[in-house]
Amino acid sequence: MAAAKGQHVFLTGVFVVTIFGVGLLQSGLEVSRGQRPQSADVFLKKPTAANLRAYEKNLEEASWFAEKVRPTVQYARFMLLDDAGPKTILGREGWLFYRPGVRYLIEPWPPKTVSGEGQGDPLPAILDFRDQLRARGIGLLVVPVPGKASVYPEMLTQRAPAPGQPLAGHTRKIIAQLEEAGVAVVDLFKVFDRAKRGEEPGGKTKYYLPQDTHWSPEGMRLAAEATARKLLELGLVERGQVQYDLKPVAVKRRGDIVRMMQAPRIERCFPAETIDCTQVVHRQSGEVYRDDPDSQILVLGDSFLRIYEQDAPGSGGMIAHLARELGFPLASLVNDGGASTLVRQALARKPALLANKRVVVWEFIERDIRFGMEGWPRVPLPAERQPGVAAAMLE
């Protein structure tokens, strides 16, 4: 070997020590914990493309160095580059937005990369679900929930369209197609639009939480009122006699978008919000609202149903408020992030939930039209019963 200058040796030394050191230390750490070094796993499985991808992924996820370094890098990127991670977009005045929800609005729909039924188009799946329910004598009311960016684009960017200009073109198109196909739909876009212009009771409050993907208690109440109004207008159900009262409860909630960043130091920049909720309580017994599996209404949906209902304060979410508006308790089936398909699959596994039902209210967040887990396949329900009153009224 030729004579080497100090800087050459130094650079090579640091490089070699680093590339050797990380792997060796990781293995040493695993051995000291009584584990087999994960790097050796490559010899344990057949070297297929899938196994090798999984091996590489596991190696990266188990990396002690990555775990230690990640929070610092994330924090530095957040402070220097306004980079809040792959799931978050920083809005104005401390508002945070869930990136897939924003991408849904920006990108064309249907996307070119997704094709074929069960993948990109929700229409066949919704119509099929409607038809299956109709065969059981059950009506369907669809409630697509606007994403936060659809309702508050001005909190995302100054370049947002002027109020009143349509933003969520894809969802509006789907709503129009559903209505044309005879599916009953609650158009919450119009509801929130009117509310923001001060045309709904409640004034110009925030209908979505600044650091969360979900609606605020006020937004949720508007949705519950609009859904109840639609159910009653269509004559799908009659108002019940159960009396419920509202009980104010303040809860502290750290926004789910903050938590998605998975960076404790960044999370500390966003203190938990105090939210004024209202629990629904039975007027006579004073007990908080509880579902009734034998109710004539089954509500299906995602975390927009879960928030305030199963989360703190409990019994203060859309299901409870819808029950209050209708005057009787409801049955519900909630699957976080899985309102496009998983919740229907869960229903198919529990067909007893459909017993005595007149209507199914199906809520899903609009971004699921594009990003719904498992896409939009048809989900067969066990066939039963003859068409009933509610289904006939929807025709």
Binding site: A2, Q7, H8, V9, V69, Q74
Partner: protein
């Protein structure tokens, strides 16, 4: 396996270096073995195809070099090698493209479409087929001696540092190094330096700016300003991504004692498109020049023939990048510009303007070509080009794009990219004189790149798809 991944940097590379430097002999056999592991990491079955291409070209090379082989037989062997290699490339890369286009044509003629079998494109096939082919052609032309053993040849074809995305190393460039090459501290450390610079280009710049490009190109209706920002971001991304890979490949080569040719030379400082092709993907342009343009007659058969040759080379060069009409158009666009520059000669607008203006015009012309390169189809490219000139009204959700792309981070990364791109010192030259200051800067960049790599998702190099 991606160079900018934990499994490569912390497991594969140290193991390879350790064993390579401990082995007293048979280093080529070892390099061949680990190169197959590296390549098979994507899909182990692809190794068989590479082995086939290698064996075929080795056999034809031996045939050509056989003592007493007639000129006619040599020619037959060379043509057979070209047909087999390009046939393999054509089948895997262009079969589906051809079949879909044929079905489109049949559909328009009212004829039932043919069944199209799904053919998976093996990664890096365009690169290793060209490399293998260069061997038989060089041996046929008498520019290189035949390889001494199959393992040496297989090692040359599969050599993992530049296997997937180049630089395309021609056999006659590396023939002597396959016989003997020096391993020195200086060479190794310069390799380390280039590897680090390439890693930094990829992880710190290309991946970061790529998010901006992706956001804009994926938008339904970007505004004019968004579109210009997006295509500029893509121009930076593809440069840093591809030249980053090349730097890492050349660096890894040096760590193993090889000297690979440079692949980039400040391409965005080009003062014309002709100049650009002397600075961008140099190994491909010289390959096409030596194995296609010159055999077609180059510029020695008259003006018209020269233009025809230029157009042919650029069209095929475009098609080499991918089986899509966008690449054909991209090649045609570059071919047209090359012909135009040649036709204008000294009366070209380039020659009348000061260098900064020439650089700016060339960069602008390149931006249009990158729209074709990045777009998934011609309609999308047209839509994007229209947007650049205000032809699409950014309405609805597309207005929200601003929140994603006009951030402090974008501003900083764009400024950094522009600063690096529009200065003349290139990584390849910068590392040649390694001072203490440079060594410290490199260590800092290495640390930053690794830390950033830990938080980035899987992000393969753009040129892997070619």
């Amino acid at each position: 396996m991606v160079f900018s991944s934990q499994v490569f940097i912390f497991y594969f590379l140290p193991l390879v270096l350790l064993v390579y430097y401990l082995l007293p002999g048979n280093r080529h056999l070892f390099l061949l073995l680990v190169s197959y592991v590296f390549y098979g990491w994507w899909n182990p079955w692809f190794v068989l195809l590479m082995l086939f291409v290698t064996a075929v070209n080795y056999a034809f090379g031996q045939w050509i070099a056989a003592p007493g082989a007639s000129r006619r037989w040599k020619r037959v062997a060379m043509v057979a090698s070209v047909v087999t290699s390009l046939g393999t490339l054509g089948f895997f890369k262009y079969y589906m493209f051809a079949a879909h286009n044929l079905n489109w044509l049949l559909g328009n003629l009212g004829i039932a479409p043919l069944t199209v079998v799904e053919v998976v494109l093996p990664i890096g096939i365009s690169f290793y087929v060209f490399q293998s082919l260069s061997y038989t052609i060089d041996v046929y032309r008498g520019e290189s001696p035949p390889v001494r053993s199959f393992f040496d040849f297989a090692c040359f074809v599969a050599l993992f540092p530049q296997l997937i995305a180049g630089p395309i190393v021609r056999y006659n460039t590396i023939a002597e190094q396959l016989v003997s090459r020096a391993h020195t501290w200086n060479k190794f450390s310069l390799g380390v330096a280039l590897f680090i610079l390439g890693l930094a280009k990829k992880v710190l710049l290309a991946n970061a700016i790529g998010k901006v490009a992706d956001a804009v190109f994926d938008a339904q209706a970007p505004a004019a300003l968004d579109a210009w920002l997006g295509v500029t971001a893509y121009a930076f991304q593809i440069y840093f991504d591809f030249s980053g890979y090349s730097d890492m490949a050349i660096g890894l080569g040096r760590m193993l004692g090889f000297e690979f040719p440079r692949n980039f030379n400040a391409p965005y400082l080009s003062e014309s498109i002709t100049d650009f092709w002397r600075r961008w993907h140099i190994s491909l342009s010289t390959f096409l020049r030596d194995y296609l343009y010159f055999p077609l007659g180059g510029n020695r058969r008259g003006t018209r023939r020269t233009y025809f040759n230029l157009a042919t080379v650029m069209l095929l060069g475009g098609l080499w990048h991918g089986a899509n009409w966008t690449f054909v158009l991209w090649g045609a666009y570059h071919g047209t510009l090359l012909i135009w520059e040649r036709a204008m000669g000294k009366s070209s607008i380039y020659t009348r303007l000061p260098p900064p203006a020439r650089i700016a015009i060339t960069f602008l012309l390149l931006l249009f070509s990158w729209v074709l390169f990045r777009s998934p189809d011609i309609m999308d490219a047209w839509r994007f080009l229209s947007a650049m000139f205000g032809g699409s009204i950014a309405g609805g959700g597309s207005m929200l794009l601003a929140a994603e792309v006009y951030t402090q981070g974008t501003l900083i990364i764009m400024a950094l990219c522009a600063l690096v791109v529009f200065q003349p010192v290139q990584a390849f030259d910068w590392v040649e004189t390694l001072t203490w200051g440079k060594a410290m800067l490199l260590i800092l960049l290495f640390a930053l790149s690794l830390m950033t790599m830990f938080v980035q998702a899987f992000n393969p190099f753009l040129y892997f798809q070619f």
